[in-house]
């Protein structure tokens, strides 16, 4: 099993004036015309399923100019206003549920770049004329690009609608998920899922148990999510290389960060636990690396009833006793095809 070494850039955050287009758009009488090189870079990023966002000191009115230009409909989680770009980047990462080390930042102003480099060293910082070259770096190469990757922008837009509904919703998180009519489908992985599963294993860091590549043999359970805002497709996988005996071990759990905040980890592992129990297993174990980055998946394990059963070096094993059949949480409708 090989550890995944290269981190991937998942969102490129652009400054506007002087970076995406020449001059100051709000002071111009005609709508902004993007630099051809910037537009080409945005196209390449879209093909690779890498998101693009905006951090601009312009007031929010400039978003109307963006939407009236060749750039319409491309950006997610854009931040406008007079504040530090560092804070805009933190907010964009939080809104998209992505780690800061998956962000790249493009700005023509050396002062802005220096501030970000100093304060957030994990962010990849680029001048506009470095972007074309950077696109050939490994961190901008997501590997085989799947349908899920190409529809990622749609999926994040769906998520923005969900977020704004959440902030208007008065009830608890669980009541909100019920109101969203959250639905999950759990099934065994098929051959056609392979590219998407490799991509999931590679892209995820917050919701990734061991950071290993997807094991080739054994059984894998995959999770799809949908709700009233739309479908997210295949967003989670749990791979069991030897699905037999009294103790089942999950070699890898990987869940998309788009789904992790919506209970994907406990639902997926409850599905695996039910499958294991139906095959006579008495215990389900999930080894998990103890990094700060994957604290979210460990919170998901806890939510699913798993507790720490031991530790070797920087890997802890979390276990669930299968004496009773584990039940799915009440706030989700699950279709089991196991």
């Amino acid at each position: 099993m090989t550890a995944v070494a290269t981190r991937l850039v998942k969102v490129v955050v652009w400054d506007l004036d002087g970076t995406l287009w020449p001059g100051v758009a709000l002071e111009s009488e005609s709508p902004p015309v993007p630099y051809p090189a910037a537009l080409a870079a945005l196209d390449t990023l879209a093909e690779r399923g890498i998101l693009v966002s905006v951090a601009s000191r312009n007031p929010a009115e400039v978003s109307e100019l963006v939407e009236g230009s060749a750039l319409a409909g491309r950006f997610v989680a854009a931040r406008y206003g007079w504040g530090r770009k560092v804070d805009a980047l933190r907010r964009i990462a939080a809104e998209l549920d992505l780690g800061l080390d998956t962000l790249a930042f493009v700005d023509d102003d050396p002062m802005e770049r220096a501030d970000v480099e100093r304060t957030l060293p994990e962010v990849t910082v680029l001048a506009p004329d470095e972007v074309a070259d950077a696109l050939s770096w490994p961190e901008f190469d997501p590997g085989p690009v799947t349908t899920a990757a190409r529809s990622r922008v749609d999926s994040y837009r769906q998520r923005e609608r969900r977020r704004s509904a959440r902030s208007a919703f008065a009830g608890s998180e669980e009541d909100f998920l019920r109101w969203c009519e959250l639905r999950a489908t759990l099934r065994r992985a098929a051959d056609g899922d392979r590219d998407r599963l490799v991509e999931l294993a590679r892209r995820t860091t917050q919701y990734n148990s061991t950071g290993v590549q997807l094991p080739a043999g054994g059984a894998a359970v995959v999770l799809s999510l949908a709700d009233r805002f739309g479908g997210d497709g295949l967003v989670g996988v749990a791979a069991v290389s030897t699905p037999d005996g009294p103790d089942w071990m999950v070699d890898l759990v990987a869940v998309s960060c788009r789904a992790g905040g919506r209970g994907a980890v406990p639902v997926l592992l409850t599905g695996v636990a039910r499958l294991a129990r139906s095959r006579g297993a008495g215990r389900l174990a999930v080894p998990c690396r103890l990094t700060e980055r994957n604290v979210p998946i460990r919170l998901g394990l806890k939510q699913g009833g798993f507790t720490a059963a031991g530790r070797t070096g920087d890997v802890a094993t979390y276990a669930l006793d299968l004496t009773d059949t584990p039940a799915y949480p009440g706030w989700i409708t699950v279709t089991e095809q196991l």
């Binding site: 804070d87 990462a93 939080a94 549920d97 992505l98 780690g99 608890s172 998180e173 669980e174 917050q206 919701y207 960060c257 992790g260 905040g261 103890l290 990094t291 700060e292 980055r293 604290v295 979210p296 460990r298 919170l299 806890k302 507790t307 720490a308 530790r311 920087d314 802890a316």
Partner: protein
Amino acid sequence: MSVPGILAAVVGDPAVAELPRDTPLLSGGLALDSVTVVRLLAEIRTATGVDVADLDLDLDALATIGTLTDFVAAQGEQRDGAPG
């Protein structure tokens, strides 16, 4: 800086430092999202040297502001008191 102080800085709201100790950090309370939790633990590690993610396997310390504050204090003392 104290844990409530670090928490307030991470969420960007000074009032958070004054919340009651029994305020849940996750659902039913501050409802911190996953990215914020990761940042909070990184800031605590930098400020106090206590690596909660490494030391608390079941992450029980993340229950409330009080449990996290107590965990960091206890681990800090243990480390400071350790020989060598």
